[in-house]
Structures are given as C-alpha cells and as structure tokens.
Amino acid sequence: MITAKGLYKRYRKTVAVNQLSFDVRPGVVTGFLGPNGSGKSTTMRLMLGLDHGEGQTLFDGESFTDIRRPMNKVGTLLEAKPFHPTRSARNHLRMLASANGIGDKRVDEVMDLVGLGSVKRKKPKGYSLGMAQRLGLAQALLGDPGILLLDEPTNGLDPHGIHWMRDMLKHLAAEGRTIFVSSHLLSEMQLMADELVVIGRGTMIFNGDVNQFVRDFTQSTVVVRSPSADGFAAALEGAGAEVAKGKDGELVVSGMEIGAVGHLAFTENVELSELSTRSASLEEAFMSATGSSEEFVAAEPLAAPAAAPAAQAPATQTGGADHA
C-alpha cells in the first residue's frame, strides 16, 4: 500500500506538483497518467525522496528513506538508461543488490526472468531502449518487492515487449503486490490498469476506477444508420439531441439515450439499419480530462489530409472537449 499526502514541489516560480494526495492499493495495477510535463516523474521522485519537497509518502507505513534495504520492499524503475557504460548489466545489478543483502543467484534469476539471461555479461551501452527497460524492470524486481513504482516502463518496447510487460505487471498485481505505473500509452493503460491517478500541471484531476474515469470525462453517443438519415437528423435535433454526420454517413447522436432514439424512429416511422451506442475510450477521456492541462502544446498541422476531418468526426462527437 502506498499513501501519498500533500506532495508539493516548486521550481522557482513553477509549481510542478501541487498538493497531490492519493492511495495506491495492493492487488491492482494503478496507472499514473498525465500529459508531458504534468509532473508525473517529479511526483515519483518526490515519493522516493530523490527530490526534496513537501508532503509525505508512506510505503506500507514507512517513508522510503527510512527503509533499510529498500529494494526488498519497493522496486523502482525511473530512468531508461541509468547505467555506467563499461559495467556489465549483471554487475550493475550485483552492485545494487550488494546494498540490499541480495545474492548473485537472485541477480541471475531476474536477468533470466526479463529475458536478458543470454546478454547479462554485456555492457548496457549496447542495449536497445527496450532491453534497457527490461534491465530496469530486472532492477526493480531484484528484491522481490511487494511494491513496484515504475515510470514509463513500456517506453521503447516493441509490441511483444509491451504485451509481455502488461502481462508481467498484471501477474505481479494478482500476487497481491502494489503496482504504480506511469505511461503515455493510453491504450496499454486501458488494458493494464484497474485504477488511475490522473494529473495535469501537477494537480489532481482524477483518482479512482478506470471505467469511472471514462464515464466521468466522456459522454456515450448513439450511432444511427438509416436510408432517411437527413430527415431523421432534423427530427432528432427537434427533440433536443445533438447530431453530427460520421464519415460513412451515419448519424452520431449525443444528448439522447439509445432507447429514446429508437422510440423517436418508431414514432417518426423511420427505417433504421443500425442503432448502437459508442463508448468512449480511455484516450478520449484522457484528452477530455487533461485538454486544458497540457504544458507543451504543438501547433496544428498546416494541411490535413482530405480524409482527416471525417476520420476525426467521431472523436469530436465522443471526445467531449466541452467537459475539459
């Protein structure tokens, strides 16, 4: 169990982390989301005492800097390649293990576990980013800890690696461990995380269940296909719904439940070829929730491909930018 209370960090005039408080429960994967520069890494560093700020984080009731042999309790992965270029991967782990009473046998075990057993005597400077991430995970797992705190562990991994990491973290959570993992890969988070902590500009936006987050920050839409789409669109708008046309001519209806749409089609005597609901994704919810919290915003492309506006239409309907 991780308990963070009142985390606060300021860099001169910029508040990087602003009074964050949250709990991370054991037995589930808790995702840590936020746009670039939102303070995720700083928060993790504050939690581990690497950065100095205000607030307190307890790992099963203990502050990280008070834990003797912390790798046996809290496993961490922060930077992608924090390795000395001339020290072998195995020796890197042996060095850290020696500070925590962990033997060489366990070092070899975790190297095999993450799939680096055959290259453990090689220097990490020759590792790809994905291999470096695996080594980072091996480092986090060295002490077989009950708590894992991982910053962007899927960065640089190929699809197989991402799948492997997802299964690994879910498996570790199922063993009753506390898993706190930040990521930009929202699709992965949707598959991996059970709970979320979402921040923007260092401030808490959401803390709770993934499905609740999607519900809170998006609205479901109803998709209608009909030979009389134009006429039915007018009827829907007349009944108070918002209607947009999708790229294939379908109607995307918001502000009206699917049952009411069906009933209106029945009373208007309109033939329907499709009547379905479209749920928003975590990505859409994330965009909705953090839209105003982006620290670094890129310019829009000058000229979009012809198909782009139509392709984006559903997202516009379901994205719920109005909720940001």
């Binding site: 560093r45 581990l48 005492g49 690497l50 950065d51 100095h52 990280f64 800097t65 834990i67 003797r68 042999r69 912390p70 790798m71 809290v74 961490t76 922060l78 930077e79 390649k81 924090p82 390795f83 000395h84 270029p85 001339t86 020290r87 072998s88 020796n91 890197h92 042996r94 060095m95 850290l96 020696s98 500070a99 925590n100 009473g101 480092q139």
Partner: protein, 262 residues
C-alpha cells in the same frame, strides 16, 4: 553501514577504469626508481634518492599515483551523476550520509593500500638495482614516506569531494589539475616580486603546496637565502592545511548533497 560499504566496494571493483587508473599510477610511479636505477645505480644511495624512488618522484612535483588516485576519487561521485546512476544508487541506498561515508571509507582504504603497494614494489625495484634500501625506518625518511601516504590520501579525498561538489567529472578534473599547476604556482611565483609581497603570508596556506611538504625530506628546502620568509608550518601542520582544504570541500559537498535533488 556494512551494506553501504559492500555497495561501494562492488561499485569500485566492477569498473574497468579503477584497474587501469591504478595500473597507470603504479607503473608511472615505478618508472622513477627504474629509470634512476638504470642511470645512477653506480652512485651510492642517499636518503633523497630513496625518498624520490619510493614515492615515485612525488616530492619533486610529479605525484603520479596521487593524481591517478584523485581521478578515482572524482569518479566515485562524479560518475554517478555523469551516467545517471545516482538514481538507482539512491533507490538502493537512500540514506545519503551513509552512502557518502561509505564512499570515503572505501576510497580511503583502497588509496592507502595502493600507495603502500606502490612503495613496496618501488622498494623492490631499488633493491634490484642497488642491492639495499637503507634508512627506511629512520627519520626523516620514515616521516617523509608516511607523509607521502597521507598526501596521496588527502589528494584523493579532495578529488572525491570535488566530484560530489560539481556533480560531474570535467569540472572536478579541471580544478584538481588547475589549482596546483597554475593557480598555486602563480601565487608562489608572484610572491617573489616586491610589488606583490603581500602574497608571502598566503603561501603557507596554499593547500597543494603545503601538502607537498608532507613528503619533504628536508623541510628547509622550500625556504632559504634569496627567498621570502614564508614562515611555513611544519610537516604535519602543512599537512593539516591540505587536510583542512579537502575537509572543507567534502563538508560543503556533503551538505549540498543532502539538500539538493538527486
């Protein structure tokens, strides 16, 4: 503390640079008695030759071993920042003062061991050329040799402190080489000029110059006719100036290390 010592020992012994820096330092130091043996082995051994042979010419301003050990000292902390390993280090060993204390103890132990080993093989080389190494355990040679060990240790610890202070390698290297070679020599040289005689009382507080007196066989060599009266401290007093300099750097770096973000 034992965990931290184990960590630092493993860190040091799993780096290739540790071995080649020690190797080069010991070989450079060994080169002095070997060259002397080839050139002047027909001359009888005098204490000055014994001292210079055993300390690898350090007393004459070329402290090879001390310089290479100081680089190891700089790497002890500077490398952690240069390669970003300070983060995994502090997540494995988050007690910052314990970590620094362990680094100081391990580096000190290795420095003393390597210096004594270097003196031993230098003595062996002299034994080969001259057949005898007289007066080893008699003053002032004994004190000068002990002073050499202390000098190398302080030099190394100054490097460790600078690496931690600057949180990197290049700046620390610049300071540890620039200070004795340029800044101190400049102040020492200028103090001979009448217009800059106000520098004379400063000279005895120049850390590396004072530190060198630890290894001197004849402490009057650095003063005499035609030279300003620098009013130097004695061997151990001068060593104290050098030690205070290193202690000041380490204390400052230690305090900042505790306060700064990693």
């Amino acid at each position: 503390m034992l965990d931290a010592l184990r960590y630092e020992w493993t860190r040091l012994t799993t780096l290739r640079s540790t071995y080649w820096l020690i190797g080069i330092g010991v070989l450079c130091s060994l080169a002095i008695p070997v060259i002397a043996g080839i050139v002047v082995s027909d001359d009888p051994l005098v204490p000055e030759t014994v001292a210079a042979g055993l300390n690898g010419g350090a007393a004459f301003g070329i402290p090879f071993l001390a310089v290479f050990m100081a680089i190891i000292g700089i790497f002890a902390t500077g490398h952690e920042y240069r390669h970003g390993t300070i983060q995994p280090t502090l997540t494995a060993l988050p007690q910052r003062s314990t970590l620094i204390a362990a680094k100081i103890l391990v580096i000190s132990g290795v420095t003393v061991a390597v210096t004594v080993f270097s003196m031993a093989i230098n003595a062996l080389a002299m034994l080969v050329f001259w057949g005898d190494v007289p007066g080893l355990f008699e003053d002032p040679l004994r004190s000068a040799l002990l002073g050499y060990v202390v000098y190398t240790l302080i030099y190394t610890l100054a490097g460790l402190g600078l690496g931690l202070l600057f949180r990197g390698v290049p700046s620390a290297l610049v300071v540890i080489f620039l200070m004795p070679l340029i800044i101190e020599n400049l102040i020492f040289g200028l103090s001979f000029l009448p217009m800059a005689d106000w520098l004379v009382p400063v000279v005895k507080f120049l850390p590396f110059l004072s530190g060198a007196r630890l290894m001197s066989l004849d402490l009057s060599m650095m003063s005499g006719e035609g030279m300003p009266d620098f009013d130097y401290f004695g061997r151990w007093g001068s060593g104290g100036v050098f030690a205070a300099f290193a202690a000041l750097i380490i204390a400052g770096a230690w305090i900042l290390f505790k306060k700064r973000d990693a």
